[in-house]
């Protein structure tokens, strides 16, 4: 209880709110990412040929590493670095996906859900092969993927920074040592908890999407309010356990 008396309940509460916001950002961001699953591997559906949880984890963890690297430079810089890391990972992945589709498999890019690209206005139907849902990553899916990666990286970094600040204040009190000696333990704990919460939120969002999604123009995207509620509650519970670690 010495930790709670020294830090004060407000610090813990603010950290918990930050963690919940981070979890909601992750859950919301996953809905932007174009996921094609197995059909995309055969060029029969738009999106990246893997599952929702794996793709979200890749983007989010890339963002988390970027943000964690910049954690010493202040909250805003860390969050920006996290967002850029996640967005960059998605941008590079999607560019390579499109290059392989277009130049490797000879497939033009076409969406199956909309007649015109909502951003560029390009027509889609005449490029879509018969019997498929569409293929490749049209511009709107690409933009959605980058936005999703940025939101995921931002959320993951926010969780990490919030936990790191609390641990850096609390662990030296528990072990009566200085911050430098225990720094790596705090980093590792905050990191593994951020990864854990990230995966829980990514899988819940995957359950909400059920399978494949093309991006923000997909009708399934409208389901995101449900996931925000689920993400907030699940992250609150995991956040209480993660913060409770130093309070018991």
């Amino acid at each position: 209880m010495v930790v709670l008396e020294t830090l004060g309940i407000m610090v813990i509460l603010i950290a918990l709110i930050g963690i919940i916001i981070g979890g909601v950002l992750i859950g919301f961001g996953v809905h932007f990412v174009p996921v094609g699953g197995a059909p995309a591997a055969m060029g029969q559906a738009p999106g990246i040929a893997t599952g929702v949880a794996m793709l979200a984890a890749g983007a989010g963890l890339a963002g988390l590493f970027g943000g964690a690297w910049a954690a010493e430079l202040g909250l805003l810089v860390a969050l920006a670095a996290g967002a850029v890391g996640g967005g960059l990972m998605m941008a590079i992945t999607q560019l390579m996906v499109n290059i392989i589709y277009i130049f490797g498999m000879g497939i033009p890019v076409a969406s199956g859900k909309v007649a015109k690209d909502p951003i560029t206005g390009d027509t889609q139907t005449e490029f879509k092969s018969q019997g498929t849902e569409g293929h490749g990553l049209p511009f709107v899916s690409y933009a959605g993927g980058v936005i999703g990666g940025m939101l995921g990286g931002l959320g993951g970094t926010l969780i990490y920074v919030m936990l790191l600040d609390v641990y850096l204040d609390a662990l030296p009190l528990i072990y009566s040592t200085n911050k430098e000696a225990i720094y790596l333990v705090a980093v590792s704990l905050a990191g593994i908890f951020a990864v854990g919460m990230f995966l829980v939120n990514a899988v819940l969002a995957a359950y909400n999407i059920t399978g494949t999604i093309e991006g923000p123009h997909d009708p399934k995207f409208k389901r995101f309010p449900r996931d925000i509620v689920a993400s907030a509650i699940a992250t609150a519970v995991t956040g209480i356990f993660a913060l409770g670690l130093v309070l018991v």
């Binding site: 699953g37 197995a38 893997t50 599952g51 929702v52 949880a53 794996m54 984890a57 072990y175 040592t177 000696a181 225990i182 790596l184 333990v185 590792s188 704990l189 990191g191 593994i192 908890f193 990864v195 854990g196 919460m197 990230f198 995966l199 829980v200 990514a202 899988v203 819940l204 995957a206 359950y207 909400n208 999407i209 059920t210 399978g211 494949t212 449900r226 996931d227 509620v229 689920a230 509650i233 699940a234 519970v237 995991t238 356990f241 993660a242 409770g244 670690l245 130093v246 018991v248």
Partner: protein, 287 residues
């Protein structure tokens, strides 16, 4: 990933597998607790056995959940299991009463709470409406926590928070306590996280389909458990005595070799016959 997985029931009922995994895993973890009483670390390898038994149970839980066509790939189930399990496990390690006698029980309870919340969210708010969703996510979260606890006990010989964040190094004959080169300070926990996360989802992912057989998948789960135990045993050379780490390593190698040999036998039993077909003969010239 909407793959239609055929529901095929195996021989052993799920509750029997659950009991084997839960009790066996807890017994294995409590045997490593005897290290504190006996003042040794030779019993560390029981942590690996505990993790293997937890994974054995977890692979069958994933099979039960994925049989409902949840719309996401099987690997995501392993990720949510360990994502929620790691939080319950690390939270529980702080309850160091009596050298941590309550830690495994508290880990099971904490992981069950997190799994239950995720399961209820998925079933009600996300409208999944899958009968086994809540129980499966509770089970998988407990499996994640117990696997990590078993592997941590294997690596450090103990599972209390103090043992996971501190390590003793001798510096010119003086014993110093350091935080950097501990299981958590050195981020070994992240390695254990993925060793378990891959091992829990691989058995069903590799064996699913119309030719799924329960005994073959469970044997593969044991093989994955021992395979994850090998790198963990190698890591343990840095934390526990040479003798204890060698025992862990030998047990892991022997266990992996035996289970892999048995798995290949079962795979051959279930595989289609290999026909000794001859190439088509070319018609001779002149006909």
């Amino acid at each position: 990933m909407t793959v239609k997985v055929e529901v095929k029931e195996g021989g052993m009922p799920h509750n029997q597998i659950l009991a084997t995994g839960l009790i066996g895993s807890l017994v294995g973890i409590y045997i490593t607790y005897l290290n504190n009483i006996l003042g040794t670390d030779l019993l560390a390898f029981f942590g690996g056995i505990a993790a293997t038994l937890a994974l054995y149970w977890g692979s069958h839980t994933i099979k039960r959940l994925a049989s409902y066509g949840i719309g996401t790939g099987v690997p995501s189930a392993g990720m949510i299991a360990f994502g929620s399990g790691v939080i319950g496990f690390l939270f529980a390690t702080r309850f160091a009463i009596g050298g941590g006698i309550l830690v495994p029980i508290i880990a099971v309870i904490a992981a069950a709470v997190i799994g239950a919340v995720a399961g209820v969210m998925a079933n009600t708010i996300l409208k999944m409406h899958i009968p086994v969703m809540v129980s499966a996510l509770i089970e998988m979260s407990i499996v994640g926590a117990l696997t990590l606890m078993g592997l941590s006990a294997l690596v450090t010989g103990s599972f209390t928070f103090d043992a996971l964040v501190t390590s003793r190094i001798s510096f010119f004959g003086m014993e110093l306590t350091t935080y950097e080169s501990s299981l958590i300070g050195g981020s070994i926990i992240a390695v254990l996280f993925l060793l378990g996360g891959i091992a829990i989802q691989h058995p069903f992912n590799a064996c699913l389909g119309p030719s799924w057989e329960q005994d073959r998948m469970l044997m593969l789960a044991l093989e994955c458990g021992f395979l994850s135990m090998i790198p963990a045993a190698v890591i343990s050379f840095a934390f526990i005595s040479m003798a204890a780490a060698t025992i862990s390593f030998v047990v892991a190698i022997v266990g992996w070799f035996y289970t892999y040999y048995r798995y290949i036998e079962l795979a051959r039993r279930d595989a289609a016959f290999w026909l000794d077909a001859k190439p088509i003969k070319e018609p001779e010239a002149g006909h």
